[in-house]
Each structure stands twice: as C-alpha cells, then as structure tokens.
Symmetry: C2
Subunit: 443 residues, 2 copies
C-alpha cells in the first residue's frame, strides 16, 4: 500500500543516495516525516531518527517528542533528540522564531550526522512545500536562486518526499492507518506560507489540476539554469578577476564587455557582499572619474584608473585606534605597529620605521586612515602639503589611500604616513632627548 | 496632474525610443490605452492611433470604435481602424478566440507600422498585467522565457505604461477626468487571467504591498538571465553545431560535455522543434546503439556513430509517391527523378541514372524510403540481399537510410536504390525492347 516503487524510482532518478549509505531522518512526528520514516524502513535503508524539541508549545512539544521516541524504539532505530530554547536564540540573534528554529535544527542535524557517521540528512518536504516556496520567494522578490526553492538534493540534505503532493501524503497515511501527531513545531505560525497554501494555491489548482507536477518541472528547469549560470560565472571569475595580495582587481574593459552586464557584475560581486543597487551604481559611474567608492558590509569597491578594485574592509583602518605611552603595539588590519622609547639618539633609513622626537608627542596618539583635508610636512621639506597631493606624487593607487594608516599626534598634526614618509616637524634634532621608534610589522 | 516626469524617465531609462521617432499607439478605448494616448500627446511625441474592432460584441465594439475615432479626431491625430472576423479566424486556425485576437492585432499593427512609417508600436500594458502573466505562465508551466512575460521593449513593440500599476492608472484617470470606455474587446472572457487578477494577486499583495514593483524587479532579473542564456547558447551553437548540406551534426562527445546537459541540449535543439521530453529521451539513449530515431514536427534526429544527426523531414521520402507511365518527373525532398522511355537499347555508367527493362514495369511504380525487411538483387549479382546489409557494406550513414529514396515496382520488387544501385532483375538484356531511363536530378 505504500508507494515504494515510486519512492525508489525517485531516489534513483534524482541520485539522492546509493545503496549502503546511512541516512539521518528529520522526524517531527507530523504525517510527512512519519510517512518518510515508514518508507525508508520498508525499503530497508539504514536510518536513524532525529527529533528537535523547540520548546515552543510546552505540552505539545513534549507529546511530539514522546511519540517520535516511541516510534523509533518500536522500529528498532537509533533515536537522537535535542531541546532548543528557540525564543532565546531568536532574541539573541535578532531573527524571527521561524528562522531561529531553522538555523538550530539544520546545525544540530549536521552535528549529529557527522558525529554518528550518517551520509545524508533526509527532510520530509513535499511538492506542495516546493510550490509554496516558489510563490513566497517571487512575492517577496527573488532572482533565479529563489525559483527552485526546494531541491531534491543540495549538499548533505536530501528531500526524498518531493515526488508526493500533500494530498497524496494524506491519502497514503490514511489508507495505511499510519499514526502521527499534528506537528506543533511546524509552521502553523507562519502567516505567509499559510496564506499562500490556503488562499492562493487552491485558485492556481483550479487553473491547473496538476499544479504540483507542473511546478516540479518548472523548478527542475530553473535549477538547471542556475547551475548553468554558476558554471559560467565561475569561468568568468577565473578569467577576469585578478586576486592580488592587497586587493581584487577587475579590469573596467572586461566589465564593459559583460553581456548582460548587470546580471554578471552582480554575480561576480556577490561574494563580496555587494547588492543589486550597488551594482547599478557602479555601472552608472563606470565612465566617472576615478575615485568613486562603493561599500558592502564587508568590502569597499573603488574605481581606480582602469580597474574596479575591491578591498576587504578589515584591511582598512576604519576608526581611530589610540596609542598610549604604555602601548607596546597596536594591531590594525592584521598588521602591527610597535612603539618603543630610547634615549639613544639614533636613526635608520627604513620606510617601515619612524624615528620621532618623543618630547613633542601628546598622548594618546591616533592611528587612522586618510581624511579629506589632511596635510603634513614631508620629511626634509618646510611647508605643509596635502596628503592627497603627496599620494598622487608618489603614485599611490587610489584604493591604498583608504588602507594607508596615518599616525596623528594628540594635537592633530600628522607624525607619520605609515610605511611611507614621516613629518619634518617630528624629526630628530640635536636638541632631542628621547626618541620614540614606531615600526610597521606587516604580517 | 499626469505623471509626465515618470513617463519620460521610464522611456529614457528603458531606452524605449528616441526623440523624433514616430509611435503607433494601440488604443482600445479602455482606460489604460486612453491614458497612454494622453501621456504621449502631453509630451509632444509624434503619434498615430490604431484601433482593432474584433466584432466580438456587436454594439459595444462599434461604440468603442466610435469613441476612439472621435478622440483621435479631437486630438488631431491620424486614426487607423480595421475590422476582424475573430471567430472565423479562430475556427480556421483552430486556436482560441483570445489567441486569434492577439495574432490578428499584432499582424495588423505591424502592417500599419510599416506602411505608415512608424518606428514603434506602443501597447498599454501595465505592471499588474506583467504580474498576472508571470503567475499564469508559472501555473501553466514555463522555463525562463515565461518569467519575464511582458518586457518594456521587444523588437518593435514598446510598453511605456509598465511603470504604472492598475491602481495608479485608475487613480490618474479619475483625477484627470479622462473619458474612456469599458473595453469590451479586452480579456473579460479570459477565465485564467481574471482568476489570477481577482483571486490570487490580492492575497499576494497582503504579503507584499509593493507586489507590482517587486515583480518588475524580478522580471528585469529574469529577462537579463534569459539574455545571458541566449548569448551563451549562440556561442555554443557556433562551436558545436556542424551544418552540412544533407543534415546537421552535433558530436556526441560535445553533447556529453554540456553542463547542464538537459537545459543546453534543449536550447540547441529548440530551433528544430524538439521538446523537453524528446531531449530527455535522447540523453537517456546516448549510450544506446546507433540508429535510435527521434521526431519533432519538422525534423528527425538520429544517433549515428559519433554524432546526433538532425535532418529536415521534408528532405525525407515520408510516404509513397507514385510514378505513372505518363509522369515526366516526380519531385521528392526538393530533388527530382525524371522518367523517359526509349526503344534505343543504350546504357551508361552513371549512378544517377537507372536503365530499366520497361517491359517488366507494373505501373504505378512507387518512390518511397527504406522499409524494414527490404531486399533486392544488386546489379551483377544473382541472389537477394537485405537493403540494410547493402547500406552497411556501402558504409551509408544511418541517417541517409531514411533519406535515400527507393524505386519500387508495382509488384513490390525493388527496381533501384536511387543514386546507388539498380536491381539485377530489371537490367537491360538482349531481349529488352523498350527502355525506361530514370534520372536523379539533385537540386
């Protein structure tokens, strides 16, 4: 009475796993996951049962756990259970209860999978879940990646019930007198999904009675198209992205050639956290003068001469870091600046070191990045010069302007363009009694 | 009060047309197209008004036509009108009234555009039309091409109202006291679109109040992705499709390398009318023995040695063509076989000619393609041989087995494997009194 043939055909056709693999089943106790458990048991796959108690509805959650524990015991299967404080986790991470439950369970399943040596984690999502996910993603806004929604296999997750509709599951469970609980942890609180399920999908089914099958076919097409895009973008990355130690370079000529431009630049910049809006801005300003900056959460992009240059933000001095007389060293962007004092008046020609008249220092000193209007007196000169002009004269690429730390005295005067040139006002003189030696240590 | 700035911004941003272009407006008389007309008039573009009367609802259709004619006259604009017998056209072409109206109007608009020298045809579809189209296509089943549904610009069609929602159009028309008619020709009969509009979209809008804007963004992404796919498929075509005179060859090794395979083979074979199911079958039988045949409405595909070979069906002899004593020639697959009689007993060594003992012919003769079980006695031999064995011995590629015509006598005996070998039983002998000369003329 169980659809074993279709189940096995689906596993084979989608290459979900192979004979001999061990599968960890996520079983909430609801009809979907309980049917999945019976199907696996019936075809003789080596499985274990994992259950999450999210402590969301005290009595029901315990009832569900007991039900699944007993079911696993009766079937002679290993049983793994965990309890989560979902609300606390959600509050701590500032995410919805829904998202919190999702994160917690996926992390825990993976933990158990590794520890207990299972090959895959099986989730009991069905065709209607997939239909709903596509409609939710479209409604909220999506690209191609939101159109498959739920795939039969992704990494270590498999969904072997995607050959069944919700109705088929209900009929099968009823026809086989399979016991289950009304799943309390499930998304009964999910407003959006319920609205799609109850108010939208039935109307679409009036248009197409095979809606779930049609969507499964759509989804398979979109998943292939996404694969294709990913394959092509990888090739493109290998071809036009030039990763150097200080930054990532993409030639503007190559960006001009991209077709279609928005889509491909978006895909190329996605790993650096740049969104669609920033990509539009970058494309709009390709013809602009050099120097335009764009930011993501983790990176900065800047148009510099013939390249779009992308720098990790943590390689930049983003805020003042203060140096006190007792500071032995200050770490910035993974590198280090050390400070030591000496009364021996010595000097060394080394761009990585600054020998400064310590008597003139007003603590705390600040280490910060370039600011508009910065001026200093380059060593050996007598008058103030704009730091930006100095950078231009020294042919410092624009993007390094943001990553070059500047050591500033407590009175606001620049002491050292770190690694490049110190200020004439702070140089050692015959009157100097105490020397501060700053040293840049690149790691 | 009219949203002229947004209208002009949208035209510019989407590069719909340029200053000086002449635009032919499709005006049904409904609020969408009437608003479009007023917007164009207000910004001073050179436009003409085209109206189709589909004769679907007698009184209303005439009222609509009169309304649009008067509007054009009052605004001093050229007016073009046509009457269609939509039901008759639909019946003749076995398509829905909806489809018939669509075909008729697009064809007629293009005709007027060319004749009257307009640059573009403007249609008054708005953002909600686009939302509905995407949902309809998804519900009915689609690939990426069904996901943009309605684009701002495609070939000579532009849709300059895609920056407005239905609600915004209604508000604008009301606020500006713009007269319009309740469009009788419009899709009030379209069950599917109405269901989506009235029963599905409102629920999605409860989830996302900016649904139309979100869908416009989705659609722009999907359109870019489709462009990308098309660009890549064109490159792939140039690289792996080998078009020869007799057929189109795709190396099986190249097909094996496609990634993802289904999507790309589908796209490559689409121009030859092969659908998704056939593509799946071809991929399933790649490892099969040579000789498997697949058919589309227009083409045959066959796996032959190291290639997938695609042949136009009209290059094949698909049914018997009969030759009567009075036939001077028979045309098949664009080539010709001529017949003439002579009493001069002559002979010529020429594979394109057969010199046959006319006394043995039983009319009508048939020209047909190879059939399983065919046997003949090759000229110079004494015993029957399978035609398929003969083809193998002669190293005839498998796909030519289907395109090589065979001349058959009225008694079923083979007279000539056209262009290759005639039958020994029909050769000229000293007793022959009348000769039939068949000649293959390749065009």
């Amino acid at each position: 009475m169980l659809p074993l043939r279709q189940f096995q055909d689906f596993i084979e056709q989608q290459q979900l796993f192979v004979r001999g693999n061990r599968i960890l089943l996520a079983v909430s106790g609801g009809k979907d996951s309980v049917l999945m458990l019976h199907l696996f048991k019936a075809v003789g796959v080596d499985v274990g049962v994992a259950h999450c108690n999210f402590n969301l509805r005290a009595g029901e959650a315990q009832r569900d756990e007991n039900f699944v524990a007993l079911l696993a015991k009766n079937l002679g299967l290993p049983f793994y259970v965990t309890h989560f404080d979902t609300k606390k986790y959600a509050a701590e991470h500032k995410i919805s209860t829904q998202m919190a439950a999702r994160d917690l369970r996926y992390n825990w399943f993976e933990e158990i999978r590794l520890k207990e040596e299972y090959d895959y984690i099986a989730l009991a999502q069905h065709q209607n879940d997939a239909v709903e996910t596509v409609l939710i993603n479209l409604t909220r806004g999506t690209g191609i990646s939101g159109l498959h929604g739920i795939l039969p296999k992704r990494d270590r997750l498999i969904r072997p019930l995607l050959f069944l509709t919700r109705q088929q599951i209900e009929e099968t469970v009823a026809a086989n007198n399979i016991d289950f609980v009304e799943d309390s942890s499930n998304a009964s609180t999910n407003y959006t999904r319920n609205k799609i399920r109850l108010q939208v999908v039935p109307h679409l089914q009036e248009i197409n009675t095979n809606l779930e099958k049609t969507f499964a076919e759509n989804i398979a097409r979109f998943a292939e198209l996404e694969t294709f895009l990913n394959v092509q973008v990888e090739k493109l990355e290998a071809k036009i992205i030039n990763k150097k130690a200080d930054a990532i370079y993409i030639s503007l000529v190559e960006i001009e050639k991209l077709n279609p431009q928005k889509l491909l630049l978006y895909e190329l910049l996605k790993p650096y956290g740049f969104g669609e809006n920033v990509v539009h801005e970058i494309l709009d300003s390709l013809k602009a003068l050099s120097g335009t900056h764009f930011f993501s959460a983790t990176h900065q992009a800047i148009i510099n001469r013939n390249d779009l240059v992308i720098i990790e933000k943590n390689k930049m001095v983003t805020a003042n870091q203060f140096i006190h007389p007792t500071s032995k060293s200050v770490v910035f962007a993974g590198n280090e600046i050390s400070l030591q004092f000496t009364e021996e008046i010595k000097f060394e020609i080394n761009a990585r070191k600054a020998f400064v008249n310590a008597d003139k220092l007003i603590f705390p000193l600040a280490l910060r990045n370039w600011q508009n209007g910065d001026k200093f007196t380059p060593l050996g000169m007598r008058s103030l010069k704009k730091v930006s002009d100095y950078f231009i004269d020294e042919k410092v690429p624009l993007h390094l302007k943001g990553t070059t730390p500047i050591l500033v005295n407590g009175n606001g005067e620049i002491i050292w363009i770190v690694g490049m040139r110190q200020d004439n006002r702070y140089k050692l003189t015959t009157a100097t009694k105490k020397v501060a030696i700053f040293e840049l240590k690149i790691k």
